[in-house]
Amino acid sequence: MSDTDNAPRDSLFEPPAMAEQERMVEAILFATADPVTVKELGDRMPHGSDPAEALVSLRKRYEGRGVQVVRVGDAWAFRTAADLGYLMQREVTETRKLSRAAVETLAIIAYHQPVTRAEIEEIRGVAVSRGTVDQLLEMDWIRFGRRRMTPGRPVTFVVTQAFLDHFGLESARDLPGLADLRAAGLLDNRPSPLAATGQDEDDADALEAGEGQSELFED
C-alpha cells in the first residue's frame, strides 16, 4: 500500500504535485479530530508544500457536494452540507399524555371561552403555571382571544381550530354538556363512599383511577 510511486513526495527538494497536496489536505482534514489551520497543514505536509493553494482547489472540488470544506475560525474542517443537515437527525417521536393540570386548564378554556387566567384559576382552585399555558399554546390548542374590557384588560384564551380538529368537534359548542357527562357516567353526584368512611388520601387515588379509566376507554 505504501509503495506507490509518487516520486515527488520522497524528493528532498521538490514539493509534491498540487494534486497530491490536495489529497494530503483532504486526508488530514478528514482524519483530524479538530479543525486544522493552514500552518498545521504545512507542518504536516512535505517540505515546500503550499497547503493554502491546495485548500483552494480542494474547496472547489467539494463545491456542491454532500460535504463542504469550511472555515472554522482560522482553521479548516469538513462539514455536512447545510441542506443535508436533516439527514443527521434521527427524530424520535414520543407520545405522552397531557398532564392533569394541562387537561383541566384546557377543559376550562374549552367550556368557558373566552376565559382569563384569573377565571381559570378560580375554577381550578389553584394557580395556573406559565408552563401549562405555554404548552397548550405551543400545541396550538389554545390561543389568545380578545382582551377583556375590564380593569387591567386581561387577555383571554380560546381554543383553536386545531383543537377542534383534534377532538373531532365542529365547534366548542359541541362539547358534551354536564348532562351528557352525567349520562356518560362521568359525573356521579353521590357522595364518595371513600370520603364517607373518612379516608382522605384519595387525590392520588382518584388520579390513578382516572388514568386507569381513560385507558379503559381509549382505542
Binding site: M1, S2, F30, A31, T32, A33, D34, P35, A77, F78, R79, T80, M88, Q89, R90, E91, V92, T93, E94, T95, R96, K97, L98, R100, A102, V103, E104, L106, A107, I108, Y111, I123, R124, G125, Q135, M139, F167, L169, L175, P176, L178, L181, A184, G185, L186, L187, D188, N189, P191, S192, L194, A195, D205, A206, A209, G210, Q213, S214, F217, E218
Partner: protein, 266 residues
C-alpha cells in the same frame, strides 16, 4: 555491538552447535507447548514440512526431553505426554506393521503430525500477513471529527375528548367527585338475569314489559338500572333462542315485551 567484535573464545563446539544447544536448553516456557517446540525443531530440517522426516523429528524431541531431564528442567506434563506418544510413533514407524493390530498405521500418524505442524506454521504465517496489513489508526484513518447524530426527541402531547370531559367533570364536581370504578356490586350479570328469568317466565302468559323483570331495587339508580336492563335483555334473547320466550317491540323505542312460548303439550 562491541561484544560482537570481541574474538570468539575458544570452544570445542561450533557456533551453530552452541545455538542449537541453547535452543534445547532454553526453558520450556519459551515454547508454546510441545507442538511449538516440534515445529521449531522441524524447521531445522530445512525441508518442506510435508517432506519432513517425522522419525528424525521424534528422535530429536526425545533427545531434547532426555537432555532436559538431565538438566533438571521441570518438564510440563504435556511435554512428557508428547514424548511418550512420539516414542510410540517411533516404534510404529520402525517396526513392520502388525497385521493383527488395527488402528492407524505409523505412516498415518506421522502424516497427521506433519499436517498439524504444517497447519500451525501456515496459521503463523497467516497471522503475520494479517498483522502486516495496513491497519486502521496506524496506516489509514476513520473520520476524526464525526458529526454527532442528533437524536432529537420530539415529544407529542396528546389527550382524548374523554380526558377533557373527565377533567372538566372532575372540576365541576370537585367536592362530590368520586372516581369511576367498575363496582361489581352494581353490575347485574347475564347469568344472574337468566337465573332470575327462568323462574319468572312461567308466569308470562301475556305480553309483559321487560322492565317488570328487572330485579327489585335496581330501577332507582341509573347505573344499576342500565346494567340490569342490559343483562335482562340479553338473557331474554338467550331464552328466545332456547325457545322458551317470544320477544317483540311495537315501534322504535317502544317498550320491549316478553311472552312465554306456548308449548304444544301445555
Amino acid at each position: 555491538m562491541a561484544e560482537d567484535l570481541e574474538p570468539e573464545p575458544q570452544e570445542p563446539i561450533s557456533v551453530a552447535d552452541r545455538m542449537a544447544a541453547e535452543a534445547l536448553v532454553v526453558d520450556v516456557d519459551g515454547f508454546e507447548g510441545p507442538l511449538d517446540l516440534l515445529l521449531n525443531m522441524a524447521r531445522t530440517q530445512k525441508v518442506d514440512l510435508r517432506q519432513i522426516s517425522v522419525l528424525a523429528l521424534a528422535q530429536q524431541y526425545l533427545a531434547f526431553v532426555d537432555k532436559a531431564k538431565t538438566l533438571r528442567i521441570e518438564l510440563a506434563a504435556d511435554y512428557l505426554v508428547m514424548a511418550a506418544w512420539l516414542a510410540f510413533l517411533k516404534s510404529r514407524l520402525l517396526l513392520p506393521p502388525d497385521p493383527e493390530e488395527d488402528g492407524p498405521s505409523g505412516e498415518e500418524l506421522a502424516a497427521h503430525l506433519a499436517y498439524q505442524l504444517e497447519r500451525l506454521q501456515a496459521m503463523r504465517e497467516a497471522a503475520a500477513k494479517l498483522m502486516a496489513r495496513d491497519q486502521m489508526g496506524r496506516d489509514f484513518f476513520a473520520r476524526g471529527l464525526p458529526e454527532e447524530m442528533e437524536r432529537t426527541r420530539k415529544v407529542v402531547y396528546t389527550a382524548t375528548l374523554l380526558d377533557l370531559m373527565q377533567g372538566y367533570a372532575r372540576l365541576r364536581t370537585r367536592d362530590e367527585f368520586r372516581p369511576f370504578v367498575m363496582d361489581r356490586d352494581k353490575v347485574f350479570t347475564m347469568e344472574q338475569a337468566l337465573e332470575r328469568m327462568r323462574g319468572m317466565i312461567g308466569f308470562a302468559g301475556t305480553w309483559t314489559d321487560i322492565s317488570s323483570y328487572l330485579p327489585v331495587g335496581w330501577g332507582e339508580e341509573e347505573g344499576m338500572w342500565r346494567s340490569a336492563t342490559a343483562a335482562t335483555f340479553a338473557a331474554s334473547l338467550q331464552l328466545v333462542k332456547e325457545g322458551h320466550l317470544e320477544i317483540r317491540q311495537e315501534d322504535l323505542f317502544a317498550p320491549i315485551q316478553l311472552r312465554r312460548t306456548e308449548t304444544r303439550d301445555e
